[in-house]
């Protein structure tokens, strides 16, 4: 079945899928749509059309050349990719360096039955992303490549399925750890993604209007809206704006949640990888080798925490801490801990272990960190009032709002602090606006750091840092007793005592 995807035959070098000849230019054309609109509707000189056509032709040529010049092959030892015409590139990665294999299919790729394969190598050289990308191969080929690259036992191709992340053609022995529950949609509005999306949309629209040369406030409807609001009181305007943001933000967040997590499944594959399949328009399928797993992180942004929700991410070598490490969408906290336990093959989630509180002096330090900046702002406003530069209400309002907020934030940050040393795990929790609970495998701790600032020395506190090759690489135990910080280093990093 793979002979037709190896048009060159000799030496095992294969081209990308020929369907890319259609997809790559189409993709570029889509990017050019705003420019086309500008040229066709706002342009009044003829040569602009030619300029656009020339650019289009150039883009299509580049797409074709890229297809012609890109080749890849997988030998028993290495995966190699050659590309480029003017700047020839030959990248070669030992197969045992392959850490993740991700398959992504955007809508256009899906329409042609194609998938983009990204091979993560965990190497971080400046200027390189440590990643090999094949854009694109047929979905069957991507499945075959993934099985081959992640299979350490044999060099022979594994099983192939028809589409990226198809649920129907899974090999036997696959076990499901989690799947989407649409009751989780209630967490979508708590992610703030919607508000961010609205901002991006407005920015994008503004830019397009700007390029066409139409001022946004020239449009009749917008003009009318602005006039209407100008006649109303400032209170009403604020209420309307907040209401609009809440409603539109929630709807946007729902849409984004559905797009990102449609058909979400977390499975354990028989070849020892964890796999996340998800996505409505863009299908994503992320594979993570279990032997690269060093722990799990349960993340609770403030709003999500208020709604008793949480996310769950992998702490693994070679996959960073971003979107790719995501194991679970925003979901009930209990589910996040359950998934954490399942991923680690534990019966009870280490992330729910009772935590040791940090010393009371840590509370004072957290409060100083939050209250002092607030006090500085209030003092600056008060001085401005004293100099008659500002009226009195700004600093009074700031004091009334920032003061309690700073105290609450400081206290909550202290209450979040905690750590626990279990038989197999070090559990560390911190943060208020973004609270993270990381359960790190003790076998994954490759170093220890204790640092003490002048202020910490006054309270006999120190910050201990568990150093690992996975995730963000360093996990802080903020403000614990100096003795304990040193003692833990000896126990966890050097001797791994139980």
């Amino acid at each position: 079945m793979t002979s037709e995807s190896h048009p060159d035959g000799g030496d095992g070098w294969a081209r990308l899928d020929p369907r890319m000849l259609a997809v790559a230019p189409a993709q570029e054309v889509v990017k050019f749509v705003p420019l086309l609109v500008v040229a066709l509707f706002a342009g009044n000189s003829d040569n602009r059309h030619w300029w656009v056509l020339g650019a289009l032709g150039g883009v299509i040529t580049i797409g074709v050349l890229r297809w012609l010049t890109t080749r890849y092959r997988i030998t028993t030892e290495r995966i190699e990719v050659r590309s480029g015409l003017l700047f020839r590139q030959h990248r070669s990665v030992p197969r045992d360096r392959v850490r993740t294999v991700d398959v992504t299919a955007k809508p256009l790729h899906r329409a042609f039955g194609l998938s983009v394969l990204q091979v993560g190598t965990g190497q971080h050289e400046p200027g390189k992303d440590g990643e090999l990308t094949l854009n694109a191969v047929s979905s069957a080929e991507s499945e075959r490549l993934r099985a081959t690259l992640l299979d350490r036992s044999t060099a022979s191709p594994g099983s192939a399925s028809d589409t990226a992340g198809s649920a129907t053609a899974e090999p036997p022995g696959t076990s499901e750890l989690a799947r989407i529950s649409w009751a989780w949609l209630r967490f979508a509005p708590l992610t703030l993604l919607g508000v961010a999306a609205i901002g991006a949309l407005f920015g994008g629209a503004w830019q397009v209007f700007g390029e066409i040369g139409v001022g946004v406030d020239d449009a009749g409807a917008v003009r009318g809206l602005i006039d209407w609001f100008t006649d109303r009181s400032i209170g009403l305007v604020i209420v309307a704006a907040v209401g609009f943001l809440l409603v539109a933000g929630s709807l946007g967040a729902l849409a984004l949640y559905v797009e990102a997590w449609w058909g979400y499944r977390l499975t354990r594959q028989p070849d020892g990888t964890l796999r996340v399949n998800r996505g409505l328009l863009t299908r994503r399928s992320v594979s993570l080798e279990e032997r690269r797993l060093r722990g799990v992180e349960v993340v609770e942004p403030l709003l999500l925490r208020a709604g008793r929700g949480a996310r769950c991410s992998a702490v693994a070598t070679g996959s960073g801490s971003g979107d790719r490490a995501s194991l679970l969408p925003p979901a009930p906290r209990a589910d996040a801990h359950r998934v954490a336990a399942a991923v680690l093959r534990e019966d009870t989630p280490p992330s729910t272990a009772p935590l040791r509180r940090h010393p009371a002096a840590a509370l004072r330090r957290r409060l100083v960190r939050t209250v002092v900046p607030a006090a500085v702002v209030v003092a600056a406003l008060a001085v401005a009032d004293g100099a008659d530069a500002l009226p009195t209400w700004p600093w009074v309002t700031a004091a009334a709002v920032l003061g309690p907020a700073a105290v609450l934030l400081g206290v909550d940050r202290y209450r979040s602090l905690g750590h626990a040393v279990l038989d197999e795990y070090l559990v560390v929790r911190s943060g208020s606006l973004l609270r993270r609970t990381v359960a790190l495998r003790r076998s994954g701790i490759i170093g220890w750091r204790v640092s003490q600032s002048v202020f910490q020395r006054a309270s006999d506190l120190a910050t201990a840092t568990a150093i690992t090759a996975a995730g963000v690489g360093a996990y802080d135990l903020l403000d614990i007793e100096l003795d304990r910080a040193m003692d833990l280093g000896e126990r966890l990093a050097v001797h791994n005592d139980r």
Binding site: T317, W448, V450, A469, G473, A474, G489, E490, V494, H495
Partner: protein, 165 residues
């Protein structure tokens, strides 16, 4: 050889006392830049406001104080030790740091010698692990001692299998 029952013990060895000279010269070079800049300004501009001279006096006082105190303070803090199990370092002066890298996790051992260090027969030994938190540095080691340390570390880490992650 390592006494595990007293985790608070300091790493056993001090760095070379010639490191005090090294840190002092570094501090002098660092402070010379703003001081020379100020002197040049005095030479070129006639009517400098009095606040300038106040600032200059503060600058000189801080510079002299830092140059006098920092190197000796550092020398009292900076320590290192390599046991069979791990490399320990202690560094800093106002804020201080302890680092531990288990032998089994060490990836490379490098040395650097700047021109000043060569004059003083000093070496900085850098021990890297597979972590994003950065390597361990042992600054201001005596040249011969550093050679022995690198040999010891290289021998130990080569004997350890695995990719140290």
């Amino acid at each position: 050889m390592s006494d595990n029952s007293t985790p608070l013990r300091q790493p056993a060895h001090r760095v070379s006392d010639r490191a005090i000279t090294w840190w002092t010269v570094h501090a002098v070079i660092g402070w010379l830049v703003p001081v020379v800049g100020a002197v040049v300004a005095m030479a070129l501009v006639d009517d400098l406001p009095s606040i300038f001279y106040v600032g200059l006096i503060v600058l000189v006082v801080v510079a002299v104080g830092h140059t006098a105190v920092m190197p000796r303070w550092r020398f009292r803090v900076h320590r290192w030790e390599a046991t069979d199990d791990a490399v320990y370092t202690q560094s800093g002066w106002l804020s201080q740091q302890w680092r531990v890298a288990p032998m089994s996790r060490i990836q490379t051992v490098d040395t650097q010698r700047g021109p000043l260090q060569q004059l003083l027969r000093l070496t900085t030994v850098t021990v890297t692990t597979a972590s994003a938190a950065g390597p361990l540095h042992i600054e201001g080691l005596d040249l011969a001692l550093a050679g022995e340390l690198v040999e010891q570390l290289t021998a130990t880490t080569q004997a350890t299998p695995g990719d140290a992650t």
